[in-house]
């Protein structure tokens, strides 16, 4: 299996972010993680991306334990994992093309990486990946001049350009309007299916999760509450998950709004 989390716990000081989480995700699976705010969705994704070390239990990626590896080997492992942050960490004065090309820094040598800082060597490649997200005309714009939704799409573009085997996305569509969010999630899923990429996404909007992902994991207060197929997720499960949250009713929207996204 590609990702195997075994009894992992995570503490941030006094706060228990994750508690005895165990799950297995195989290659090519597409999984959505849902849960109330502060449940630990981001923490779980960061754990799987090896951004933080579990305080208990262990993590296995591609059959290896990343925290038992040497630093160099771990870096090579990380190049095969792409993490899309909820708030894209892009310097405001950097241009979009440079930010996207930075996705392959883990695969390029230092010299080629530094060259791309001053002169982008693969503009067509960056353009192609941005075009799918509707941002091709923003290629040479500075990141600081983009809106929140556009910035999130650049973050996704960077991860796509990286061509990782595992794509972990942390609230990838939180700043987008519903139509754009729908389109971006569809794009991510298509990409995952076409290239055999393992896709894990944490989402706030339950409808989107149930509509696009075949497998859904529910997290509450750092623990896995349920882990089943999307069609098996019932109202009771969702009520238990979001108890005390202002959720009117678990809306399972029928699929798809067929809307044309203007490309130019």
């Amino acid at each position: 299996m590609t990702i195997h989390v075994h009894g992992a716990g995570l503490r941030h000081g006094q706060v228990r972010a994750l508690e005895a989480v165990s799950l297995r995700i195989d290659k090519g699976e597409r999984v959505a993680i849902i849960g109330p705010s502060g449940a630990g969705k981001s923490s779980l994704l960061h754990l799987m991306a090896t951004a933080v070390q579990p305080s208990s239990g262990h993590l296995e990626l591609f059959g290896e334990q990343p925290w038992a590896l040497s630093s160099g080997a771990r870096q090579r492992l990380r190049a095969r994992i792409g993490l899309v942050h909820q708030a894209p960490p892009l310097p405001p004065r950097q241009r979009v093309v440079t930010a996207v090309l930075a996705g392959r820094l883990g695969q390029w040598g230092t010299l080629r990486g530094l060259l791309n800082l001053v002169y982008p060597t693969d503009v067509p490649g960056a353009r192609q990946v941005l075009a799918e997200l509707g941002l091709a005309d923003k290629l040479f714009v500075q990141c600081g001049q983009l809106s929140g939704g556009q910035l999130q799409r650049v973050g996704i573009a960077r991860a796509l350009y990286q061509r990782p085997e595992v794509l972990l996305t942390d609230e990838p569509v939180s700043a987008m309007d519903p139509v754009l969010a729908e389109h971006s999630l569809a794009l991510l899923n298509r990409h995952a299916q076409a290239n055999g990429v393992t896709l894990v996404a944490s989402l706030h909007a339950v409808e989107l999760a149930l509509a696009h992902f075949p497998r859904v994991i529910g997290i509450r207060e750092g623990r896995v509450v349920f882990d089943c197929a999307a069609h098996a997720v019932s109202e009771q499960l969702l009520d238990a998950l979001y108890a005390n949250e202002q959720l009117a009713s678990p809306v399972v929207q029928g699929p798809t709004l067929t809307v044309q996204i203007p490309r130019c």
Partner: protein
């Protein structure tokens, strides 16, 4: 979709800029005869090592320490007296140079009239002139004019720092909220009164803070001016360096660091207290 080319629009400007930088760098290197390697050459290392070896032990005989003490006091006195004179010149010039006192500006919401600009421009020009010539040049001139000793230093600081203080004071006056002063002037009060009641209260904290900071710089400048004969610690360091008396230079450098530290502490205390 339009077929866009794969060229980076920033390529040409960046390339031009790099070429320009190289074109300027090459003669620059020639003119400055830059060669950091000389510091590492064997015989120069030998010389530096010999020089710095003489630093230990720092001279500490009673007679020398007495000399050191008087020199340090002299430096402090030069800085303080120089600042006092600078203030004497800076305060009136800053009032003249600042648009904050313009009567026209009071009624035209901040825009001064043509006449006042005619008066203020030369005053501003004077202030810029006073602060652009390095103080050590003034010191050198004054040493030639009034002889060696601390007087030259005091006058040099007075002149340069009056320019600096004057310009910054004028800017501070213009940067605080102008409406109280404008209101007073429109109500018929005189300019100075409007200044005193309208601008001064809001500006005083920043004024004091900057003045104390400048005093601290003046202490360091006094030492540097001593090198050209303006008395104090700097003159003594220069004398000892010429005599290659490493131990004396070492003690004086230590005294200098101590002085700078003291001035820094005093400056922070005063700024905390008065501003």
């Amino acid at each position: 979709m339009l077929k866009a080319d794969a060229r980076d629009p920033a390529l040409l400007p960046r390339l031009l800029f790099t070429l320009l930088a190289l074109a300027v760098l090459w003669p620059g290197l020639q003119l400055s005869e830059l060669n950091p390697g000389v510091l590492l050459q064997a015989e120069n290392r030998e010389q530096i090592a010999n020089f710095t070896r003489a630093f230990w032990p720092p001279a500490h005989d009673a007679e020398f320490l007495q000399l050191l003490y008087t020199a340090t006091l002299q430096t402090l006195a030069v800085a303080t007296a120089g600042m006092a004179l600078a203030l004497l010149l800076a305060i009136p010039t800053s009032l003249l140079a600042s648009r904050a006192l313009s009567l026209r500006a009071a009624s035209r919401s901040g825009r001064a009239g043509g006449w006042s600009r005619l008066v203020r421009m030369p005053v501003r020009g004077l202030l810029i002139f006073l602060r652009s010539v390095p103080e050590i040049v003034w010191a050198l001139l004054f040493v030639r004019a009034v002889g060696l000793g601390p007087t030259a230093g005091v006058l040099a600081i007075a002149i340069t720092y009056s320019g600096m203080l004057g310009k910054v004071y004028a800017e501070i006056f213009e940067s605080v909220d102008q409406r109280p002063a404008h209101a007073l002037m429109q109500g018929g009060s005189g300019r100075l009164a409007a200044f005193g009641y309208g601008i001064l209260p809001s500006a005083v904290a920043e004024l004091v803070s900057y003045t104390v900071y400048r005093w601290e710089c003046a202490v360091r400048a006094s030492v540097v001016m001593g090198f050209v004969g303006a008395g104090g610690l700097g003159q003594q360091i220069d004398l000892s360096m010429r005599m290659f008396a490493g131990g004396e230079v070492a003690s004086m450098l230590l005294a200098f660091f101590g002085l700078v530290l003291l001035a820094d502490l005093l400056s922070r205390f005063l700024r905390g207290r008065l501003a």
